[in-house]
Every structure is written in C-alpha cells, then in structure tokens.
Subunit: 67 residues, 2 copies
C-alpha cells in the first residue's frame, strides 16, 4: 500500500474536487483519492502508484500540480 | 419569445456554469441559457418563462440569485 500526496492549484469548488477524484481514480493502481479543496491537498492511495500517470490525470482534469 | 436575465452569485468555474445551464435548461418552456461566469449574468430565453421555477432551478444547482 502506497500513499502519495500532491498539492493541486486551480480547484475552486466541489465540482473541481469531483473532477480530480474521477480522473485520478481512473489511473491504474489507484484505489483511493482524497481531496481537500481549501488546501489543494490530494492524497492518492493504492498498491502501486504511477506518479507520472497521476500527475497527467490531474492536468487532464484541468488543474496544475504544484511542485 | 421572452428573455429574462438573472445575476447569480457563487459560480466559480466552468463546472458551475454547466450546472446552472443544465438545471435551468430543464425548466419547462426554457429553450436557451447563456451564462457569463465573470459577471454571474444568466440570460434565459424561451416562449414562456416561469420566473419562480427558474430561480428554484438556480438554487437547486447550488447558487444564489442576487436580487
């Protein structure tokens, strides 16, 4: 079980949170996604996590990964 | 053909615009909905417009009608 945390900018509302959860949740290996809108914190859990694919999914949803 | 304009607060992104368009678009009699995110302006067109139903739809989408 792995856990990766990202800081995502550009999310402004619950719809944005849902979009990020949906896109990241579709990445193979991901079993859980938690998003805190206020801080932009995105916690991703799964057996094996593909960092590049998760970052790509966040950007595909229309948001930026900070750092 | 009638046109009504509302000022809606609380929309923060394109998802919010889509939600308002969808909810208002389902009100009987409504044939067109245009939303300007920056100003909150919502233009609703149709043959006969039910003002109360349109306001209710906007609030159901999660936003407030100003005035």
């Amino acid at each position: 079980m792995s856990l990766s945390t990202y800081t995502v900018t550009g999310m402004t509302c619950g719809h944005c949170v849902s979009s990020v959860k949906e896109e990241v949740g579709e990445v193979p290996g991901v079993t859980g996604v938690e998003v805190d809108l206020a801080s932009g914190r995105v916690d991703v859990s799964g057996e094996t996590l593909d960092d590049a694919a998760i970052r790509a999914a966040i950007e595909e949803a229309g948001y930026k990964v900070a750092g």
